[in-house]
Amino acid sequence: MKKRLPNQIPPVQKQPALIRTENLSFDYEKKQSEPLINDVSFSLEEGEVTLLTGASGSGKSTISLCLNGLYPEAVEGYAEGTVYFRGEDISRFEKGVLNQKIGIVFQDPESQFCMVTVENELAFTMENLKVPRKDMAERMDAVLEVTGLTEVKYRAIHELSGGQKQKVALASVLLMEPELLILDEPTANLDPVSSLEFIQLVAKLQQERKMAVLVIEHQLDDWMAYIHRVLALNKHGKLIADGPRDKVFAEYKETLTAEGIHLPKVMEENTQKLGGQTPQFLEPSLSISNLSFKRKERTILQDLSMTLHKGEFVAVAGENGAGKSTLLQLMAGILSPHKGTVTFQDAPLKKWREEELRKHMGFVFQNPEHQFITDTVYDELSFGMKLNGTPEEEMKEKVTELLGHFQLEGHRLNNPFSLSGGQKRRLSVATMLDETPDVLLFDEPTFGQDAKTTDELMSIVLDLKAKGTTIVFVTHDMDLIDQYCETVFVLDKGNLAFSGTPEQLWDKESLLKQARLRLPYRVRQQKEEGDVYDLVR
């Protein structure tokens, strides 16, 4: 048993903390011996930026909703303990009042708005606050100015980019002039540059307005400079670390790593590139020539040509909406090109029989749930083999092997939908491996995953690669590209703007900027060191 950590904040203070939770427990179901959030006590101070981190499924998002009193009421869950807002029990606040003091920006840009246009969405917040009509226009224009959204005031929200959507969410929350701003993985769906822009905007606003900020995040690096304090939850919903940033990362390094929590890159030693030398690829596996694709008169991809080789690890990068996912679907033959051809193992995709093609080529979707078609994990894994008429004995053997390899033995008869996030991800990959595919395509597989899930996935992928499978990742994660990939294709507004090794890409600064990509941490660090060196010299 681990000892419980002492509270870092002294219990008696002259000024009550902005938020103080005492022995907070919560679960969506009835009272259990080990609730989702288990006996958590911490404080959030005025004007402080706090990071809340923890493995997937540790209850981070749930805590944030307990703080503004939406839970347990909204879900009829079970809760114990008390939450105080400036020393006052939040259960004594009138409905809707506390919500205005605590603003939340959520992860999914698609599901946090209820109005069609930016203007009406912002108006919605002010109407809730009962802002007099004559003041609304002025306040709206001010917040649009601050968030840099003035130009899109009359636009429909669904037409905006992911980064803009999250800024709209931020703007509508800022209208409440909250005392505490909670950011629940706000940049998980954004391209690298939009993500950085959002973080910098929040940092600027925090410094101007001195509001308290609680950031819930897996990817810590860009936030590191602004964080004062760190809280960490373990898988059982217990608080395992609470203290100043540097102290927590220094003292609890092992504990955090064991919990599968991403450490900031500054603390990790092995950010070196794997492999070192780029091997020579000779055997082509899939090639694309002069491919164009249109959707309703709008050109998505324009005249692309590229060749992928056996055993090659390829990344496709680019801004949101640059056509990355479309390209992947064209490679898999689930979309047909408008012009040009995709050739897979000497035959154009059109000539392939559907069954044969699916045996040789796998596709892992962003949302693993989309791929589940049966009621149990076992059926899920044997589905493809049944279709191919594999003999019973051989099938059983293969499924057992897959279950073992992907650590799903205990879940053989569980419903795929009931698995945890990481297990769903592993299963979605496993379903593609009844026969070792020649090409395996991934659409943003690491998105929203904790460190442990990502590492597991990468080890599976590297295994396959060693067997000669061509791996294609559509990803925003530049560090992953830097660490694992041999070839990068950069798409910019439907054109192939770059193809080559990651090392070559990192030298092309103007291209990176244009495609809204960033340098990976390792290279940024080298550049900084280089600059210091230049100064010293």
Binding site: G96, E110, T125, I157, V173, E369
Partner: protein, 259 residues
């Protein structure tokens, strides 16, 4: 302009003639009113004729279908008059033809009225107006607006799901039983996601201080003014004028009773 008329008033103005029209079984009344509505639509709105025709035309064929069916199967109380021609066991009477044409014209009246409403009304303003004029609970109106935003995402998700299943080889499942199972395979993840998203939106709305109470200010103040009553009077008034004229000329026929 019709687009600036208060949506709630507009809705009532359209429902009244819409309902009353269904009682008239002659040709003159719906025909005259249809001409009026179409003329009114183009005179007082900026709907492109091409767009209007694109939506309207399919309904013309549908209405013709209705007319033909009614002509063949007219109930006894209407099927009086001279027998025009016979084939197989059908007798086509003048009465039947009249009722058929009347039905077609009535259907087209509904379509024209609906189009006048749909093509000139902003869905957000419609909901706000229902809330402000008819005191519909904000919980309901904002709920509908939030749901409205989901439609495009739902379509996109269905597309992705179909692709994902195709990759897994589901398309290869055969037979009626296989098809049924396939439907269930789509339904469960779609529903699961829809519920999850709805929950998220509800939480997001509440976290922005939405309580569902009527006590809130309004950014778009939906007022009812002179212009709205003029519109109401023209649409409803003209209807009664048409009915009156029809009565004067002896065409009016309500539920088969000639006046």
């Amino acid at each position: 302009m019709i687009s600036s008329v208060n949506p709630a008033v507009k809705m009532v103005a359209i429902i009244i003639p819409g309902v009353l029209l269904s009682f008239s079984f002659d040709i003159f009344t719906p025909l005259t009113y249809l001409i009026f509505i179409v003329a009114f639509t183009f005179l007082f709105s900026s709907i492109p004729v091409k767009k209007w025709l694109l939506v309207f035309t399919p309904f013309v064929f549908l209405a013709l279908g209705f007319a033909w069916m009614t002509t063949l199967y007219t109930s006894d109380s209407f099927s009086g008059g001279r027998v025009l021609f016979e084939f197989w066991w059908f007798e086509i009477t003048t009465g039947g033809v009249m009722v058929g044409i009347s039905l077609a014209l009535r259907s087209l009246c509904f379509v024209a009225l609906s189009l006048m409403f749909i093509l000139t009304t902003d869905s957000t303003k419609f909901m706000l107006s229902l809330m402000q004029q008819f005191k519909l609970p904000p919980k309901l109106t904002y709920g509908i607006l939030a749901g409205y935003r989901f439609l495009p995402t739902f379509k996109h998700e269905f597309e992705v799901l179909r692709q994902a299943h195709r990759i897994r080889g589901v398309g290869r499942a055969k037979g009626v039983k296989g098809r049924l199972r396939q439907f269930r395979r789509y339904a469960i993840p779609l529903m699961a996601n829809a519920i999850r998203k709805a929950e998220r939106v509800a939480i997001a709305m509440e976290s922005k201080g939405f309580t569902g109470s009527h006590d809130r200010t309004h950014y778009h103040h939906m007022s009812v003014g002179k212009k709205d009553w003029v519109f109401f009077a023209s649409i409803v008034g003209t209807f009664f004028l048409v009915v009156f004229t029809s009565y004067q000329l002896g065409y009016l026929n309500i539920f088969g009773r000639q006046f």
